[in-house]
Amino acid sequence: MKYDAIIIGGGIIGASIAYNLTKQGMRSVAVFEKNYISSGSTGRCGGGIRQQWASPENCKLAVKSVHLFEKLDQELGFDTEYYQGGYLLLAFTDEEVEQFRKNVVMQQGAGVPVRLIGVDEVAAKFPFLDTSDLKAAAHCRTDGHINPMLVNQAYADAAKRNGADIHLFTEVVRIVRDRDRINSVITADVRTFETGVLINAGGGFSAEVAAMAGITIPTRPQRHEILITEPLEKFMDPMVIDFHHHIYFRQTKHGSVVMGYGDPHEPYTHNIQGSLEFLKTMSLMITKVVPAMKKVKIVRQWAGLYNMSPDAQPILGKVPGVSNYYQAVGFSGHGLMLAPAVAELMAELIVTGRTSMDISDLSIDRFAGRTEFKLEKAVV
């Protein structure tokens, strides 16, 4: 069996690239997913979609993504629960306010409709928040959130309709490479599939996928824990991020509140066990910010992997020395929100060799010979 393109990973990145490749005319495209669609990081993520980033590259990509998200349900023919309820970033210290002020100027320059708002306005608009220690907040009304499982499935379904093969429960265990070319992949059930190009969309396992092709990439998996509450009548529109307490939360269309805590001391491992420590920390942090949560019930907790890159920004494109290997990895926890734009640009790169928006800053070359990186700070 031979494909023009094989994508490893059926998460949002893999599925959206598959869809965009078929949309841009590539005929035989296949996705290999060792489990099922959205079983990895995508189905475990918070589902936020924001444009408020600390680097112009991320902002540009995010703005493009939001434009695509706005038309996505229509394009894919599926209700993905996309909701532009805004994003509210909370600042509790003067340093944070200062950083927000700078970011807002940069973000506005990148076309993000964001503004800094005062505590009184926050208190009036978002009465569920405890604003007693709050200094200010940044709000962008066109940010929002989506149901990650649904949008991932919608991309996979659409790719399938366009002729792509989605191989579920099929793990690629070997990548056969001959000097600068990848020839084929071999699956756990010992089938060989030849390919024109190989795309690494391996998420938390991207480094392992690259290693099968003899390529070393600087991405590392990190556990992030998350939980969901009982459904509540709608009380909030925006997704809220609080870098000070390392938490984020949003209310889903269903009514339940999804929230996560990014432990700054979390080691790099593939461990995705839920911990009791997380429940305690999350409870402490969320009830500081939303005191009424004390009486709300937790229904489910889980964890997923952030695929961290050295500067917490994605690594896109080719690698030196391999002619037909592409990667879209290292999203560091924000792959879902960038997926529509990244997938479109990756497909352009693969099909035409050029991209309509410059993403060369995000290629792996940026790490060459460097040990210090400017970190994207707006990550929880």
Partner: protein, 367 residues
Amino acid sequence: MALKINKCDILIIGGGPAGLEAAYHAAKAAPGLKISIVEENFLLGGQLIKQTHSFFGSKNQFAGKRGFEIAELLMDRVRKNPDIDIHLQTSALGCYEGGIVACESMAEGCLKEFQPGRTIVAAGARENMAPFPGNDLPGVFGAGAAQTLMNVYGVLPGRKVVMLGAGNIGLIVSYQLMQAGAEVLAIIEGLPMIGGYHVHAAKIRRMGVPILASHTVVRATGKSTLEEVEVAPIDKNWKIAGESTVFQADTLCLAVGLTPGTELLEQSGCRMAFVKELGGHVAWHNDRMETSRPEILVAGDVSGIEEASTAMLEGKIAGLAAAEGLSGLDLSDEISRAQQELAGIRKGPYGEKACLGKDKLCKLSVR
């Protein structure tokens, strides 16, 4: 209230027949071990407290005594032992890294953390639901729920009842409903045979209750609560094969089997296996009730659906095995006596299923 950390040697999750016997025999065999029982309900005894029929078996399994009387005996000997502490209204929330079992005490409104040397999961089972239109109407109960209402709280679930399922639970609960003053209009069974003991069927048949084998509930209807149950004969492929009968009933009890409540075992990473004969997925375990994780044991319905007598014996074996592992005592004689007793009561045709299921499990590798 402050968080409570509880140190104990053996934590038993579930205060039903299996859990109570595990606690009693572990404490008796290895005095000094600290044993804790967590029970979600505000009563101990599990499903035994609502059993008013007398039990089969032999003297050792309290044969001839009624279920609630056995429950009292088991509770009594556990309560008398100072090494056993009992946490009522306390639910296990999860098994976490480091062997920590987190529980919520609803009575005290606090988190209780246990870090036991051994955990015996005796969490029981839950009733299966049946798919037919109207299956969510008020008045459609699990048969066990009807039993709880009438036998624990003295409240009649309804006056006119249709029972779905002619296994032991369906037959026994039908009889108990009649005892409590309700009228059982019919017992409906999808299979061509009555699944429960003949003596239970005979008891309810001679009271005039029809058992309709090869029949199914087509639909339940009613405005806001159940009013009618439509029943029809079915063929071997479960397709409707004749005219319907409509029963004017205010209660429909579902006695269509139980599923082991294995969530905590799955969370703990115990190896799970689907064994139809045991009621679905169960944790792999050996004849000492030890799972693939050496510090976790199982007993009772959670390890495979059977009945209270076998649950008690499995509890005893698990309790002894856990006590042996922690105390260093040699309890192998006592364990093998209990194993023989268990094998004895599984000998008849009604024990075949469980034997087959447990054999299947043993043949699987621990992995």
